[in-house]
Structure formats: C-alpha cells, structure tokens
Assembly symmetry: C2
Homo-oligomer: 352 residues x 2
C-alpha cells in the first residue's frame, strides 16, 4: 500500500494465475495448456513475420484476422473483435457493456477473473448459485440485472450448458448484454455462434490459447452484433490503438486456416479425456461431466488439498482452489497420453 496508489488500486485483489515453477520440470496440468504444438503453418508464418517490417506499426483494425475468423464462423468482419488474449477482451467487455450501480450476474463457481474485473471497474454483481451438481440453473438469470456473464463450458468445472438453455437466458434478458465465455468450447461443446442471428444482445468470447495451442501468443476474440463489436472497438481505441503485434496477427490467421491441425489436436485431447475419466472413476473419484480440456474431480476419502500436495511432490502440477463448495476438488488439465499416465500412476499411489 502506498499514498501514491489510486483508490481503485488500493481496493484491488488481483487474479492469481496457475503457478509456473522453475525449481524442477513438472508434468504441468495446472493451466489448461494444450499438450500439442500449434499449427506448423502458423509457426512458419510467425517466423516469416519476424522481419524488418517490425519497425512499422501493425494494421490497427486487424482486418485480415477479423476477416479470417469471420469467414470461419460465417460472420462479417464487423462482427469480430480481436484482442491481446481473451482476458483483455473480457476486461474491455466489462467496460463496454456493464455500468456501476446496476448489478450483473454470474455463477458463484466460475472463472475467478470476473470478480476482479468487477472490482476494477466498480461494477456490482450478484452471484447465481449453481445446482449441487455444478449445473447452471437458468432461472437464476431471470432476475433483474445489468448484464450477464458465464463461461460455457463453465470454469473450473468443465460443465456444459445447452444452447437451448442459453437461448432462454438471452430471451429473458433482451435489454442486457449476455456474454458467453467460450474459452473451452472446442473440446466437445457447440458454440452459441448460431444464436447471433436472432440475439443482438449476445457476445461470445473465445481464445486461441487452448484449442489452437497458442497460449504463448496472446490472441483472443469476440463475436457479436455490429453494435456490440463497435463498443469494444471504442474501448480498445481509448486504451491502445494496436493491441496485437504483427507476428501475433500473422500466426493467428494461419492457425485459424489450418483446420486439419485444429481438428486432429482437439480430437486427440477429447479421446485422452475419455480414457482418463474412466481411469479416475475406477480409483473412486467423482468426475464432473466435462466438455473442456480439463476434468474437475473429487475423492470421497482423500482430501483434495492433500492429493494436490502429494501430486506436486511427485512432480505433477494440478490446480487446487481453496474456495467454498469446491475446496475438495482438483482441476486437472488434459495433457498428452504420456503426461496423463504419469498423473494416473501418481494418483493411484496417493489414493491406494
């Protein structure tokens, strides 16, 4: 604390990302990174873009990337916003669509960055209590509100909400913006993108960090009606005219074009997830149904915090949240088959 800090900063409780320890090499299943490399075409495009043209500013409107993502989803580029990771897109969305004094709604168990954004931008919020099985009670979103946000599938549970349920939420909230944070949608869920046709209050946010193996490149995007995207552009152009560098733009375009690599990678992860679910269930774990590149698991006897600690001692990192309702669960990213075998071997040893 310092007398020089603004009141806003004095009140902050920043987000803490999953640890990136350097003391030894871990099997890293704690930040939902993709175990497979990005598209070789994307890597090649980035190497080519690392050239003397870096002396020039990037194209501020990012038209080529917006066109490419738009074409993939059957949207025009004016319906696509791109930013420096989906976290930045989320932060801009809080500024663009939510107002102080008009509480927004999000689940009590969800991405822990939402309350951080709310605090930073002075947005009040009400929590919607998830059902016992961590499914989202849609009627929780029918109360008066200043906006809605939830991930689908939800974080850190991986639990998916059907498009029919999402449509009910959109219909009951025609005057508010409903943000569906689809960071994990490519691992088995169906995107709400088809609902954009009928709901101009829907904003979808995605990332290239998970299904396109580019966490290290920082590219996220939003899909929505032209007027919602224009609001995000206005926020961006009031903060930083150029949020994506030339190399990231080049890599992101090629990553989106390489559908074969994308398809192969996500299918492998879904197959591994299926196998791991069977194995941990055999060890007595409860497993929340997941359509994400993670599983959320709890053991009836051995406490999650102990498993977390003992996995770490055995060189396996997973994520543990010491929070109400989920403090006996572990979030385990789906790595390669080899990584998951290490995890399962260690786990067997711990709960045997």
């Amino acid at each position: 604390m310092s007398k020089y800090w603004s009141k806003a900063v004095q009140g902050l409780d920043p987000y803490i990302p999953g640890e990136q320890p350097k003391d030894k090499v871990y099997v890293k299943l704690n930040t939902n990174e993709n175990p497979y490399p990005p598209s070789p075409k994307a890597v090649q495009a980035m190497q080519a873009a690392a050239d003397d043209k870096l002396r020039l500013y990037p194209p501020p409107a990012c038209d080529e990337l917006r066109d490419t993502i738009g074409a993939y989803y059957g949207l025009k580029k004016e319906q696509v916003f791109v930013g420096n990771g989906s976290d930045e897109v989320l932060a801009f969305s809080f500024m663009a669509f939510f107002d102080p004094g008009s509480p927004i709604l999000f689940p009590d168990i969800t991405y822990s960055f939402y309350p951080v954004y709310a605090a930073l931008f002075h947005i009040d919020y009400q929590l919607v209590t998830l059902n016992e099985d961590f499914s989202i009670p849609v009627e929780g979103f029918w109360q008066p509100n200043g906006g809605i946000i939830f991930p689908n599938p939800n974080a850190p549970t991986g639990r998916y909400l059907s498009l029919a349920a999402i449509e009910t939420i959109l219909r009951k909230n025609r005057d508010q913006v409903v943000i569906v944070d689809e960071a994990y949608i490519d691992f088995g869920g169906e995107s709400a993108v088809k609902l954009l046709r009928n709901y101009d209050n829907l904003l979808i946010i995605q990332t290239l960090s998970k299904s396109r193996s580019l966490a290290g490149l920082r590219v996220g995007f939003a899909l929505g009606s032209v007027e919602l995207i224009e609001a995000l552009d206005r926020v961006k152009n009031s903060i930083n005219s150029y949020t994506l560098d030339r190399i990231a733009l080049a890599g992101a375009v090629e990553a989106f074009k390489d559908e074969v690599h994308f398809e192969e990678t996500r299918q492998k992860i879904m197959a591994t997830r299926q196998r791991v679910v069977v194995s941990v269930e055999k060890l007595g774990f409860e497993v929340v149904p997941s359509t994400a590149n993670l599983i959320f698991i709890s053991h009836p006897i051995v406490p999650a915090e102990r498993i977390f600690r003992e996995l770490r001692e055995r060189g396996v990192l997973v994520r543990y949240f010491k929070k109400p309702r989920i403090d006996n669960f572990l979030r385990v990213s789906i790595g390669s088959d080899e990584e998951m075998d290490c995890f399962l071997t260690a786990l067997r040893d711990i709960v045997k």
Copy 2:
C-alpha cells in the same frame, strides 16, 4: 450508439492514430516510425521464439525483460514494469495513480491520448497552457492537482524540458505522482531516470516503438519506485495476467542488449534531423527545436493544411492536427535520408 453500450462507452471520443493508407505506396512520415530496421539479433531471437513452446503461457512476471531493462538503467527489476506498448502502460498508469474528483494536470498541447484516458477512467483534468514558443511553463504545475503527466520531449512538438525543470515539478508535487512520458527521449534528450534516486513520486514511461524500431511488436515499459511499479502490476493482474507474448519478450530482451545497433540508428536519425531542419528553414519554415524523431514546422505564408494535402497528393504523408494553436503546423517524422529528400523536393515545389 446502442442501448447495450455502457455509459462510459457512450461518452468516449477515441484516439485516432495516424492513417495507414493502402491505396498506394507513400513516403510515410506520419506516425514517427523508425526508418531503420530493428536489431538483427532481436529479429533472430524472435524467429527462434516462434516455436512449439507457444503452446505454453508466457512467464507472467516477465522477469528476464525486466532484469534486462533494469540492468541497462542501473535499476532492479522491481523498478521496471513492462506492457503491451507504452499506450497500455499509460492507460494502466491513469488507473493506478489518478482518482476521479482530483483533477490532474497536463499541457494544452500534448499527446492527444491523455484526454482519451481521462474520459475513459473518469479522471478530471486541467490544461496547463504552453508558452508561445511551445515550451512548458514549469510554474503551471505548481497549482494543486491530483497528478501530473507530460511527454519529454513533448508531443507533437518535439520540444525538450531540462531535468532541472522536471526536478522543480517533482519537488513541488511530493504527494502526487508525476509521469514523464519519454517515448522520444533517445533522440537527443536526457532521461529523467537519474531523478528516480531522490523522487519516489516519479514514473518514467518509454517504448521500444521509436528508438528501437519495434513499433510492430508492441512493447513499452515504466521505470519508478518499487511501490509505483507494484501498483502497475496490480492493475495488470486485474486485467490480463499475460500482456506480452513469448516472441515479443524474446525480441525486446535482445533489442535492449544490442546497444551498438541502437546507437548507430539513433545517431543516423539525429544527423538527418539536423540536415532537414537546415533545409526547411531555408524554405522559410519556422521549426520548433526538436529532440525527437520528428520536427514540428510552420510556414509564414502557405497554410499547413494545404501543404499537408499537397504533400499527400505527391505521395508524402505527414501529420496535421486541426486543433487550436497548432492548426498551422505539420508534424514530420524523420525518415531515412532518401525519404527526407523526397519530402524536401515535394515541399520546395509546394512553397516555391
């Protein structure tokens, strides 16, 4: 305008960056880009960093880059903050150090992004009127205020303020944060970094876009006391845990280490500036003394707006601001000698 926009966004008047036209190839002297390529070592490092490790998140604390910049300036890494271009660092600084209801001070003629940040974050401001010759009247910053920001050298004039004058401002404002925006400092000015020893209310912001030829990479940084840097970290970690991608981090480190390339490049630009100043003065122009990679010029007879238009027709882009007090001036970036010869030839033709 849309009913879905937040009140904050409805009131925004976003910054407009210099145009990047695609209709033909221009001699581009309108966005203060560096005419020389970045360090070959930086380019090589970026090519090497474009690899399969992009599937992993970048190091969130950016220790290596902070160490490198700190070493260059004789500071520890806790005194260095890095961000996605100096515009992002500026935006975070407005959030970190300024409060609504306590008007900050900046010059009436300055970087046009400052009032945009102020509007976005609801920060009131008072303008300090520059002297007739565009020099900063230090006593203008002695009135009560909630913080101070100005570029040194100033934008868009290029005019430099001595460290002695800056120290007076710091001493008279011990309870407020004074931000010195040194985007152009490497082209002849002396950085205020040596004042950090005695003033924990000083924050210096710099960029790799100009003197290190990396506008396309989006890396900026701040130097200050440990407590000021901690405030910026808190803001960053409440918006986006990873603002710099793996490739940008690798390139920025090498760009800072390659002092030979840096020195050669900036010396060439300063020599060209000197030559161009003599030439435009011969054509009758008034030239504001510049320590930046730009000159700010006005002709006693031919209106600046007409020169701007006619230069554009001749394939030369410069920047014209239709704003009080400077609407008869042109901001001209210092390009290569060849580019400046094109500019001078066109200029001679227009004002002859």
